[in-house]
Amino acid sequence: MEEFVLMKGNEAIAEAAIRAGTDGYFGYPITPQSEVIEYLAAAKPHERTGMVLLQAESEVAAINMLYGGAGAGKKVMTSSSSPGISLMQEGISYMAGSELPCLLVNVVRGGPGLGTIQPSQSDYFQSTKGGGHGDYRLITLAPASVQEMADFVSLGYDLAFKYRNPAMILSDGAIGQMMEKVKFKPQQPRSKKSPDWATTGKTPDRERNIITSLDLDPARQERFNEKLQAKYKKICEKEVRYEKIQCDDAEYLFVAYGTSSRICQKSMQMAREEGIKVGLFRPITLWPFPYNEIRMMSGQLKGILSVEMSAGQMVEDVKLAVEGKVKVKHYGRMGGIIPTPDEIVENLKQNIIGG
């Protein structure tokens, strides 16, 4: 039986990547996630599974390596942090437009610009609302522990291949850097089979495979977009994931993901000690967002505090979910500052309960 090990979130992603049967990792170092490629380099994945590891010349090259590898039917991934993920946006749009699966990891740091290397959650809009050009969506998973950093690697691949769409693990510098116990799944073999759409060389038994997002005919391009939207609708119906903690008797609700959700657990405990019935709703998929699940709670709630290490990005989705039936406010810190449990409780009291 596998034992628990103590590991950084970034290292857990790397180990899980090898065990998930990743065919290729292509990345470019950036703080606070460089441990991913460093761990992989030290772990000799080529000897363990035959996995390809390459430090690319840039994030732009890395995402396009993913495009090539995914187009060849392979399980490919990259990891980066906010500025690097910005550089990848064109490639992500191309992959969505060419219906290519891949796993992306964003260990978010504060922005905008070069910003800071400290943790933040200010890339929510970028991940869930587009980022790159065109009408596409990115399956976005938000881990709240080192264990989930590991577990979401194979979940991300499963969703990416099931829907032929890029999937992203949206983490942050705190979860990437902190050490926790983690238990890994056993080694999965790398797949020997290729999807029938992959460019592996045209054999006489099939037509040629072409990976492209280009179609200049507007009628065909519209039909293709409708096909994409139908796929996204299906993902929204089937793949919403979330966790509810002490929500049954809740009169107030924290909505938070990742590091903020960890802090809110403590805030919830402190508030309940004072007799405030507050629960925690943790979206695990940020896209698709659990709109219905939050809306269904709106009857029992007097107010919702959306907590995020940003100026207030997810709060827009929380407001959309409850359709004005419940008061919703945002509380967050920016620029790499992590809020403390008591300042969240204080904000709940002032802006939701008293406000």
Binding site: L54, A56, L66, V76, T199, T200, I210, I211
Partner: protein, 260 residues
């Protein structure tokens, strides 16, 4: 009187055929302008793939530019890259499928401007891929703007009074950079403006595909080409202009050949 001409019926008999369209070319009509070197170079690549019998193991990467639709014409598996990124795609495909033959086909804007980093680093790492570089000194698809390889004094829609070094900088000799990188194994510069040059280009492209099996590094062939529409010339005039102006600046020949 003996009739020594052969009838059409005789002519189309298999044994009398001296030339026909490669099976690797699809029946889609080329969208290229009449006289453009892209068509000839596509045909050469198709013939090389057919003659080497590597259709089932070849994966091509099309660029952004005039040859963006290359995959419509080649009966092989292909991927369409974002502008300039073909060498990154090819790098991953070849590393993940090392038994396959992987090539990129890129124009001067794609390979020598926006994709310079990917070009230099793929060649410097010595990726075991084949890169075909079409250099016609202009952006054809977007309507004739200056390319990184546009000659000094050459008029384009963004250098309407001619390229002036003090304002627009120098034309870049990409292949001269590539040849100095330790990762390249075979580097050649050819053209397709005369039948003799077509034969030489085919020879170079064939080598660039054959050497890939040796796993010794990147094989790179530049094809100096014309752009009758972009240059606003007839095909014949454009080939003449190319020979007189492009070739002195981009001289033809093998630039790096494997040591025997």
């Amino acid at each position: 009187m003996a009739d020594d001409t052969i009838s059409t019926k005789e002519l189309i008999k298999e044994e009398n055929l001296v030339y026909k369209k490669s099976k690797i070319l699809t029946d889609n009509e080329f969208h290229y302008c009449p006289g453009c070197g892209h068509s000839t170079t596509h045909r050469i690549i198709a013939e090389v793939i057919e003659e080497m019998g590597i259709q089932s193991k070849t994966i091509g990467i099309a660029p952004v530019g005039c040859s963006v639709f290359m995959y419509n014409y080649m009966d092989i598996d292909m991927q369409e890259a974002a502008h300039g990124r073909a060498p990154a795609l090819a790098t991953a495909i070849k590393r993940l499928l090392p038994e396959k033959v992987v090539f990129t086909y890129q124009g001067d804007g794609d390979l020598a401007a926006i994709g310079t980093a990917e070009t230099i680093h793929a060649c410097n790492r010595g990726e075991n891929i084949t890169m075909i570089f079409i250099n016609n000194g202009i952006y054809g698809m977007t309507g004739g703007q200056m390319a990184p390889t546009t000659l000094v004094g050459m008029k384009t829609s963004t250098t309407p009074y001619g390229r002036e070094v003090s304002l627009m900088g120098n034309p870049i000799k990409m292949t001269d950079l590539i040849v100095n990188l330790p990762g390249t194994y075979f580097v050649s510069r050819q053209s397709v403006h005369t039948p003799g040059n077509v034969r030489k280009t085919k020879k170079a492209i064939r080598k660039a595909f054959e050497y890939q099996a040796l796993n010794k590094g990147t094989c790179f062939v530049e094809v100096v080409s014309n752009c009758p529409s972009g240059w606003k010339m007839t095909p014949v005039e454009s080939n003449k202009w190319m020979a007189e102006n492009m070739l002195p600046f981009y001289p033809l020949g093998d630039m790096k050949v494997p040591e025997k």
